[in-house]
């Protein structure tokens, strides 16, 4: 497996406060990597820095290119995609238009219809509601649309920020099943989650972020049995 993305000593500041400090991590091709940690640890900040919505210090390399100084749009054109915590859907526009806009950054438009069909196969609910405005969807459907829209860009590295946030347990399970199945498409995934158990069960490798710093890392199957993590994040049993 070759390296898809890496960051070395990345620091992100909010008004002179270091929200993320000297974080280094990497994602291999086709790998699902998760960053877990408590609320306010800096997980969302980290993803915002990777996509370029927040400025950062340190080195970020994506497919061999230094992306640290690139604009958000340039990073997206290189097929780095973020599904943000707030989903950021185009609420007044139809489901179909939201999905179509997901493919905006693709220069080669010939495969767009095929990708759209694949997304509809993956999320039949979206196909049923394709003419409906995105703002009228339920929480679970909105998350599916956000995921589907990101898939329309044929991402090489897909970053997911709290995909289970605010969803019913049944839908959370469905979303994580979908995330696991994306591995088969060869998409690398960087998953940020508060639901540590579900995240570690899905991921190959995990990092633990606390107050802006990585305090622990290792293969996900090891972390899930780690006594400290069990007490702190995995429900204490």
């Amino acid at each position: 497996m070759s390296e898809m993305f890496s960051m070395t000593d990345v620091t992100v500041c909010y008004d002179n406060v270091e929200a993320v400090r000297n974080v280094s991590l990497s994602v291999e091709e086709g790998q699902i990597v998760t960053v877990i940690g408590p609320n306010g640890a800096g997980k969302t900040t980290l993803l915002m820095a990777v996509i370029g919505l927040l400025a950062s210090r340190g080195r970020m390399v994506f497919q061999g290119n230094d992306i640290g100084k690139m604009s958000v749009e340039d990073r997206v054109e290189r097929r780095l995609c973020l599904v943000p915590e707030k989903r950021e859907l185009f609420s007044d526009m139809s489901v179909a238009d939201n999905l179509l806009l997901g493919s905006y950054s693709l220069r080669d438009r010939s495969g767009v219809q095929k990708t759209l069909d694949e997304v509809y196969d993956r999320f039949p609910r979206l196909k049923e509601r394709q003419r409906q405005a995105a703002g009228t969807l339920s929480g679970g459907e909105r998350q599916m649309l956000a995921l589907g829209r990101a898939l329309m860009a044929k991402p090489k590295l897909l970053m997911l920020d709290e995909p289970s946030l605010g969803l019913a347990p049944l839908i959370v399970r469905e979303i994580f099943r979908t995330i696991a199945s994306l591995r088969d498409l060869g998409v690398s995934i960087l998953l940020v989650e508060q639901n540590a158990r579900a995240a570690l069960e899905t991921a190959d490798y995990g990092y633990v972020l606390e107050t802006g710093e990585i305090v622990q890392s290792g293969p996900a199957k090891d972390l899930i049995h780690d006594p400290r993590l069990i007490t702190a994040y995995l429900g204490g049993h």
Binding site: I51, V76, E88, M93, D97, L101
Partner: protein, 347 residues
């Protein structure tokens, strides 16, 4: 007032309102995509009328010089910002869009004009000369402060309007113009004689609104503009560049302002500073639509036109007072109707 007079006033009002509607739609377009309330919009409409009048009189319009100066300024600013960002590889592209393209337009207009072109060509030339102005002003004035508050952008926009009025006086002179009617046909409608020019105004407004609707609903670029208007962060995450969306919005908007300028020029005498009232009345119409709805803006603008027409019959001196007084109840109504918007934004 007899019903005949009422019908004449209504038709007249609809025609004036249709012109305002084009400007109002452009105002909403630019506001939703860039958050700028583009006050100089009416000036663009007035400059188009003055440009066409100059072309009719076989004089090369001042618009040419204005575009050349703005293009040079925009290119200079673009080069400096590219140098600062260490992105000089984008220089050829910048030179093409900000310098070569506007200069080519002016050059083409200058060459074509010498061949004494027919009216249709002069109309196209006037529109071609006018459309680069707003995108260039965007690059020079608004892009450096694109992340500012709506109030800051509005203040700058007002200042820009006064600057443009000054430039208008410099480039076009103080004389008013009235161009030849585009058609001499007329027809009778419900017992009232309707001039071809009036019909043309209404048809043009309908056609351009329709084209805009098709553009927004059926093209990817149109949808990307809507996406930028709905959710700026979301659209950036799709790779849609707000600056590019803004340029397209300014181009389309100035085309609509240009068309309204051409339509109004044979009906009203247009001076270098006539744009302000056109823009302001269109703005009242746009506010009826809450600055976000195109049909709302169009309906509001037509309403303003009709009100103005009846007001000028009742009291010519007070017609503008009556129209702008309309703004107060509308603003109260809008502010009551949008009480929930802050909560929605929070979500």
């Amino acid at each position: 007032m007899t019903s005949d007079i009422a019908a004449i006033l209504a038709i007249d009002g609809i025609a004036t309102g249709a012109v305002y509607a084009l400007v109002a739609i452009g105002t909403v377009l630019i506001f939703t995509v860039t958050r700028v309330i583009f006050i100089p919009f009416g000036d663009i409409a007035a400059f188009t009328a003055l440009t066409l009048a100059a072309l009719d009189a076989k004089r090369f319009p001042g618009t040419g010089a204005l575009v050349v100066i703005l293009a040079c300024l925009a290119t200079l600013i673009e080069i400096v910002s590219l140098m600062r960002a260490g992105e000089l590889r984008l220089l050829p592209r910048a030179l093409f869009f900000y310098l070569a393209l506007p200069l080519a337009v002016v050059g083409l207009a200058w060459v074509t004009m010498r061949a004494d072109p027919p009216l249709a060509v002069r109309l196209v030339l006037a529109l071609m000369l006018i459309t680069p102005i707003a995108p260039l002003l965007d690059r020079i004035v608004f892009r450096p402060i694109a992340d500012g508050t709506v109030l800051l952008l509005l203040t700058v926009s007002v200042a820009l309007h006064f600057a443009l009025v000054g430039l208008g006086l410099l480039f076009f002179g103080p004389e008013g113009v009235r161009t030849e009617p585009l058609t001499s046909l007329s027809t009778e409608f419900a017992g009232v004689l309707v001039s071809g020019q009036t019909m043309l105004i209404v048809i043009a407004a309908l056609v351009f609104s329709g084209l805009l609707y098709l553009f927004f609903d059926f093209t990817l670029v149109g949808k990307s503009l809507r996406a930028t208007a709905v959710n700026r962060t979301g659209s950036r995450l799709m790779g849609i560049r707000p600056a590019r969306a803004g340029t397209i919005a300014y181009l389309l908007g100035s085309l609509m302002a240009g068309v309204s300028g051409i339509l109004i020029a044979p009906v009203n005498t247009v001076f270098y500073d006539s744009g302000f009232l056109i823009g302001l009345k269109a703005f009242v119409g746009a506010i009826v639509g809450g600055m976000t709805s195109y049909p709302g803006a169009a309906i509001g603008a037509v309403g303003v036109g009709i009100l103005e027409s009846f007001a000028s019959f009742e009291s010519s001196a007070l017609k503008d007072v009556i129209v702008f007084s309309l703004l107060i109840p509308i603003l109260i109504w809008r502010s009551l109707a949008s009480l929930h918007s802050e909560e929605e934004i929070e979500e």
